[in-house]
Symmetry: C2
Subunit: 216 residues, 2 copies
Amino acid sequence: MDKKVSGSVINRLPRYYRHLTDLCSSGTERISSKELSERMGVTASQIRQDLNCFGGFGQQGYGYNVEMLRTEIANILGLNRGYTAVLVGAGHMGRTFATNTKFESRGFKLIGIFDSSPEVIGTEVSDFTVMDYADIKEFIDENHPKMAILTVPKEAMKAVAEDLISMGIKAFMNFSYTELAETEGIIVENVHLSDSLMRLSYKISECENKEKLDKE
Amino acid sequence: MDKKVSGSVINRLPRYYRHLTDLCSSGTERISSKELSERMGVTASQIRQDLNCFGGFGQQGYGYNVEMLRTEIANILGLNRGYTAVLVGAGHMGRTFATNTKFESRGFKLIGIFDSSPEVIGTEVSDFTVMDYADIKEFIDENHPKMAILTVPKEAMKAVAEDLISMGIKAFMNFSYTELAETEGIIVENVHLSDSLMRLSYKISECENKEKLDKE
DNA sequence: TAGATTGTTAATCGATTAACAATC
DNA sequence: TAGATTGTTAATCGATTAACAATC
């Protein structure tokens, strides 16, 4: 029925959700695509086009009900599903992500944290006791987590990913510098913080070059 | 002279850099756009188009020299500039980012870490002693950092950003859930980890829906 | 009813891909 | 020289914007 929704639209959905959440908590009841577009710095046309990929959530002459639209987007994103997740690698990044992330309101439920280093196994991370990676197969066979968060060193990433794929995990969030390729049937979201840093570096250089040119 | 390079091209540059770094360390000397395209899962055409925004780095009949191309991209990204950076907010995320990030090879040099909480001020984070945020103006006036990394709670983000802008900071990397708008003359790179999580949630739901349909 | 704003179609713009002459 | 592969132009494709009839 629905034709495939483009990647650009999907990438914008979390941003809509974020802005609608803000509007909700500031008590706004209704908003027009025009008002929202001004807040977000996009065109009203784009907002209407994007939303209409999923259905007609607005009302002519009125606009959109903020709370209703927020709920619709949450459903589209699957934020109500509570997919189970395990986190592998309880180093700095793993501990931070496990501690800071509101999994429940982002579509997931964290159910276990694993590491292979003896100094880390058994330590506490935000309500969890870090388990031995050697026991992960048993855990997966029992609990069937939907997703794995990989916060392991980049040298280990590929082996761990293959390992987990062989145990039936089909979705990954990968924080390591090396990227995990999206192969058949496997869903991957790569997070590369250093890419963001490099993009920022580019923008600063570009800006400096422009200033230099302006002076001439 | 150069016309404006599109955002899509810039977004891909760090990925090229990453792959070229891998090729370098595996000792590969030359690569054709075709080979690289297969490794990266993009078209050879796109690679050639992208690179030619910045110059002709290849040689007909030969391809590209890996090391030379990597250096060129590093220069384009400004990774050799060592822009000075301060980090504000030494909570979990701040400490992790300060510790895990290879600033030197990503265009930056971290020169100071700040926080406003008395329990955190004075503690050590990877070679740095956390300084009192109350003293940041003095520090900025003296050292003129180019960029600030914001790892503060979302409630504090906007006030801190305005504060720092008034002290002359023009570029930000923002980790807080609330986004920092790109206003005139201010460069911003927003990193929203929960957006990535939501995108992954979408992809998993989409995939499940498809499976369900296939069964019918 | 009159005004506002949607949903949707059509027009425009930009990005990606294909093709090929230039040339190492 | 012959083969390979670039740089670049032209063709295609997709995404964004504009416009407007439908309708609350």
